[in-house]
Amino acid sequence: MADAGTDSAPVADPEPVGPASAVRPFLVTAGRVADGGSGRAMPVETQVVATAAGLAALGRLSFEQYDIVAACRLPQSLAELAARLRLHLNVVRVLAEDLREAGRLAVYVPDTDATHDASVLRRLIDGLRAIPDSEGVSSDSD
């Protein structure tokens, strides 16, 4: 188990951190923590999108699962989901994995080789350069 797994077990850390929420975060996940046993949690920027089966099953989903699938009509990152649904990031990781296994969510974990590829970096650089500053001047206008 990774970071959150060994270290944030309720017995190990009785001290509350941050403001209390109405529901203790890992009650939602039945005490499970995020990393799927594979030793590495999904990156925060991992993209998730609802499947046709997921949307079809919306009426049968409850609470957080419903919220996640409904929010994923458009692709978004785990971080965006967590922020918009006000859930702890690791809770979203666990629930997204559940929903993926149930076929209700497609999960796209970015491949580091792809994101660090020179052509991708060049596209990022070109894309950023085209962004105008507050005065409408882009950095590639010179």
């Binding site: 990774a2 970071d3 959150a4 270290d7 944030s8 190990a12 850390d13 799927g36 594979s38 590495r40 949690a41 990156p43 925060v44 920027e45 993209q47 998730v48 999108v49 609802a50 499947t51 046709a52 997921g54 949307l55 009509r73 458009l74 692709p75 978004q76 990152s77 971080a79 965006e80 922020a83 918009r84 859930l87 702890h88 990031l89 994995e97 993926r100 296994e101 076929g103 497609a106 999960v107 796209y108 970015p110 792809a114 994101t115 660090h116 590829d117 020179a118 991708v120 970096l121 596209r123 990022l124 650089i125 894309g127 950023l128 350069r129 962004i131 105008p132 500053d133 507050s134 001047v137």
Partner: protein, 212 residues
């Protein structure tokens, strides 16, 4: 595109456990863009969220994440570092480059005194920007140490509060003891163009590394 099996888009790997939901994205669902992550680090109140907000296409969002705190406690007779997981608020934003590519900017929580393991947030980032307030230089040591230790390309950006900087860039470089290859610049976290240019410095560095 709406039905039938389709291959995993280029740039992705399937999640660790099979089966991946193949071609089952909802009819008409947009293929997710390739998400590229950069990290904005620095001490508390140094302008991380301001910088993210200056360039993000969405209002910065906040979520709770876990980071591991490695504290070398003086009361620890075993001399083994204590590791505890702390829940922190993380601000982030994003910028769509094109329908297939999206830049995410994550502000790592400002922590000064302890060693923090940000792997859960930073893993896979293409680069980092360490924002510095010259009045509180030591607030960014943890971030500089982290990026150097992890070998992540990063630049130091001095946030010019009210257009003023208390120390020269050379003094900042000396004080932070960063290596020659680490760019040290001045920027204004409130200005989109200024944030854009600071991010470009980091991306150019990351690109040079792939080509080097």
């Amino acid at each position: 595109m709406a039905s039938g099996p389709s291959p995993t888009p280029k740039g992705y790997r399937v999640t660790p456990t099979e089966p991946l939901v193949r071609g089952a994205a909802a009819p008409g669902a947009v293929r997710p863009p390739l998400p590229v992550k950069m990290v904005i680090a620095g001490g508390f109140g140094v302008g991380k969220t301001t910088a993210v907000g200056a360039i993000s296409e969405i209002e910065p969002l906040t979520t709770e994440a876990s980071i591991t705190e490695v504290a070398a406690g003086v009361d620890d007779l075993t001399h083994t570092p204590r590791k505890t997981t702390t829940t922190v608020a993380m601000d982030f934003g994003c910028l769509t480059i094109d329908p297939t590519l999206k830049l995410y900017l994550f502000g790592t929580p400002g922590q000064e005194r302890f060693g923090f393991m940000w792997d859960d947030i930073v893993e896979g980032a293409v680069g980092g920007l360490v924002i510095v307030d010259t009045r509180r230089l030591d607030d960014c040591y943890a971030a500089v140490d982290y990026f150097e230790h992890r070998g992540i390309p990063f630049a130091v950006a001095v946030n010019a509060f009210d257009g003023r900087v208390e120390h020269t860039l050379e003094e900042v470089r000396w004080a932070l003891d960063v290596s020659e290859g680490v760019p040290v610049t001045v920027f204004d976290a409130r200005e989109r163009g200024s944030v854009r240019d600071a991010l470009l410095v980091v991306l150019e560095l990351a690109l040079a590394r792939t080509e080097g």
